[in-house]
């Protein structure tokens, strides 16, 4: 065991003195993490990336105000009031705002058009922002629903509305008599219910889970989503891990072609020990990089540490996996150039697919599916899981299991191939 440590120590010394490798292992990940974290993040709470929209309130009722307040509360959009619908639509046309929303007259009375046929909300959206359209519609519906619920929470307001609905249904000549009878029965019993229930009890019932449970949870996930550093740093860490794996894979083939491996083979140590020394050095380098980056992340950038023990597991598993991959890559070719070339190519594919460049949630679907085959993705998932996602051990298990399993398999194959080609 002493010799394995001596071997590993030698390799770590060599790594430390290799400026090119150190660039990939230390400088690049740090710069990558900070740079991408900074340009996509800003304050880090998504405020800067909020969708700017303009709203014209033609209704000017409690209902429309409640609705607009609701929208404004969302961090995903940035609401700006306006009086002039034409000018507002023009802002959208010129790309200055993502969307323009006109709240038409009658919106408040009909509870956001929930009980009416005509559309009382007009949306103009920038056609180039198609991706945001669905999200915006969801947000509008949510706000509408919420503001309605808020208003219904007051039983007198609710009663007023139910009575006005009954009146308008009665007055409407166009409704089929059978339908009319059904609607009137329903609204009538609602009206009776609202008139007889204890107002306090009613309010309680309408607030779901006390204090609006559903509401709170949904708003939370939105505003406390990952900061940009929480996204960029796990990616950057994987680049450091790849840098280590590449450096050690290359060092193995260097030793084989350079003859130091021959010297070691003639020393009283086994091949298994020699390779264990390499593996240990690579493992220590990888965990060193991960721990260093995690320290920067948590101490300086304030990234959340959801599951510290899980994080240890994630780091160890990532180390094991990439030690194995390193061993396999080292036998891809017989020359330094072959291993460096083919190895980096393999690592780049792994990184691109696995979300090392573009985060997986920005990927097209087919690529997202492929990303599940990349160890880089497993590593990112495990590290994100144990930090801000706050995964439990059970939730960490799939990615950690894959990391360890594939790592061991690769190591065994690599060692076998080396034993066969080295005779």
């Amino acid at each position: 065991m002493g010799k394995v440590f001596t071997l590993a120590l030698k390799d770590l010394t060599l790594l430390r003195r290799d400026l090119f490798a150190m660039f990939w292992v230390v400088a690049f990940p740090l710069v990558f993490g900070l740079f991408f974290g900074a340009i996509f993040g800003g304050a880090g709470d998504g405020a800067r990336s909020a969708m700017p929209i303009v709203i014209v309130d033609q209704d000017q009722t409690d209902g429309s105000t409640a609705f607009i307040d609701r929208l404004d509360a969302s961090t995903a959009i940035n609401v700006e009031p306006s009086d002039d619908p034409e000018a507002s639509r023009d802002l959208v046309r010129r790309g200055k705002r993502v969307a323009c929303i006109v709240v038409r007259d009658g919106f408040g009375k009909s509870f956001g058009g929930m009980f009416g046929g005509e559309s009382l909300l007009e949306i103009t959206i920038d056609p180039s922002r198609g991706a945001e359209q669905g999200m915006l519609q969801g947000l509008l519906q949510e706000a509408m629903y919420r503001s309605v619920i808020d208003r219904f929470r007051d039983s007198t307001v609710a009663r007023e509305s139910s009575q006005s609905s009954i009146d308008s249904i009665r007055a409407d000549e166009g409704i089929d008599p059978i339908q009319k009878a059904i609607l009137l029965t329903f609204m009538g019993s609602l009206d009776t219910f609202l008139g007889t229930i204890d107002p306090a009890m009613y309010e309680d019932a309408m607030t779901f889970d006390g204090g609006g449970g559903i509401e709170t949870v949904e708003v939370e996930t939105e505003s406390r989503g990952p900061t940009s550093f929480e996204i960029s740093f796990p990616q950057a860490m994987m680049w450091g891990v790849i840098g280590c794996a590449a450096a050690f894979a290359i060092s193995i083939v260097q030793e084989r072609t350079g003859g130091t491996f021959l010297r070691l083979r003639v020393s009283p140590i086994s091949r298994a020990q020699i390779l264990a020394g390499k593996g240990l050095a690579c493992f220590l380098a990888i965990t060193g990089v991960l721990v260093g980056m995690l320290l920067v992340e948590t101490l300086i950038l304030g990234v959340r540490l959801g599951n510290p023990a899980g994080l240890v597991l994630a780091v160890v598993c990532t180390g094991v996996c990439f030690v194995g991959i390193m061993m396999l890559v080292s036998v891809i070719g017989k020359t330094e150039q072959a291993v460096a070339g083919a190895g980096w190519a393999a690592f780049l594919v792994m990184a691109m697919l696995g979300g090392g460049m573009v985060p997986v949630f920005f990927m097209p679907r087919w690529m997202y599916m492929l990303s599940h085959a990349s160890p880089v993705q497993w590593g990112i998932t495990a590290i994100q899981g144990a930090t801000w996602r706050g995964y439990s051990f059970t939730e960490l298990l799939p990615s950690c299991g894959l990391l360890v399993g594939v790592g061991i398999a690769c190591y065994v194959i690599g060692v076998r191939v080396l034993a066969i080609t080295d005779r």
Binding site: L262, P268, R423
Partner: protein, 296 residues
């Protein structure tokens, strides 16, 4: 001490070593002499167990399998390619290989200092190897094979690419090791090195041993006669009386006893403007065995 029996090794279609047998006695300096591609390095690697032969056996101290740990401790190898860590210093390289060969503590320190001295690198011992000249690297490459004080040392062209001064330095050190009673296997394609250093020499070509004997024995068996070449002051009076090839004033005589012949010729009244005596050497031996020169 080292015994190879009918070793054979092929790489793809290249037959690198083709049925090689030899026995190396304890304390002798054994030379493997042959041109590029003769199979010297392949042979050395099989002797130390770094390469497994396709067939045949290697016995060290009568025991098979040179990869056993107790055998390995006795072996020191100075590979043909410089086998050092460029980013480590001379001292760090020596210490590392010392530790790999079970040295530690005071002994490690002592042996490292000895090896630094051996390589003549005392002043540069804290410099990284990548800053060394070719000759310095060569010397360190050899020193790394010796740091654990092995009784058997295999040197694969330890003087390749070295200037005459460095070469002389290396030579003196190897001679000291020889006088110290080490067993040395030495490959080279410089016949004068083999001639100066080796007790016995195997001449190799195309994976086979063509001849194996002491230097004197090889020359006696395969070297042929000495050649006297002379330029005379004037043509001899009686050309027919001279036993040689005469062309004007140029004379060429082949003989087993060159000095006696020169004396006899002078006695016969010839006066020499220039006189050269070529004694047969390993080069001549190789030429006569293969019809080719050792190096072209």
């Amino acid at each position: 001490m080292i015994e190879a029996k009918d070793l054979r090794k092929t790489f793809g279609t290249t037959v690198a070593v083709d049925g090689l047998s030899l026995t190396i006695e304890p304390g002798e300096v054994f030379g493997l002499l042959g041109p590029n591609g003769a199979g010297k390095t392949t042979t050395i690697h099989m002797l130390i167990g770094a390469l497994s032969p396709d067939s045949g056996d290697v016995l060290i101290d009568g025991k098979a399998d040179p990869t056993r740990a107790d055998v390995r401790k006795k072996l020191g190898i100075a590979p043909q390619s410089i086998s050092l860590y460029d980013e480590l210093t001379a001292e760090e390289n020596l210490r590392f290989f010392g530790k790999m060969n079970d040295l530690s503590g005071g002994l490690l320190k002592e042996r490292t200092a000895w090896a630094i001295e051996f390589a003549g690198l005392a002043e540069r011992r804290r410099s990284r190897v990548k800053t060394f000249s070719g000759g310095m690297k060569r010397r360190l490459n050899l020193a790394c094979a010796l740091v654990h004080d092995p009784p058997i040392i295999l040197m694969d062209e330890p003087t390749a690419g070295v200037d005459p001064q460095s070469r002389n330095h290396i030579f003196e050190r190897i001679e000291a090791l020889k006088n110290d009673g080490r067993t040395i296997v030495y490959t080279t394609h410089y016949m004068e090195e083999a001639q100066r250093l080796c007790d016995r020499v195997a001449i190799m070509d195309r994976g086979r041993i063509l001849a194996l004997d002491t230097v004197a024995g090889l020359i006696a068996a395969h070297g042929g006669q000495s050649v006297i070449e002379a330029e005379l002051d004037r043509p001899p009076d009686d050309a027919d009386a001279i036993d040689g090839v005469l062309d004007g004033t140029s004379l060429r005589v082949e003989t087993d006893r060159p000095l006696e012949r020169v004396a006899a010729l002078a006695e016969a009244g010839l006066s020499f403007r220039t006189l050269q005596v070529h004694q047969p050497d390993l080069e001549t031996v190789f030429l006569s065995l293969t019809g080719r020169r050792l190096r072209d």
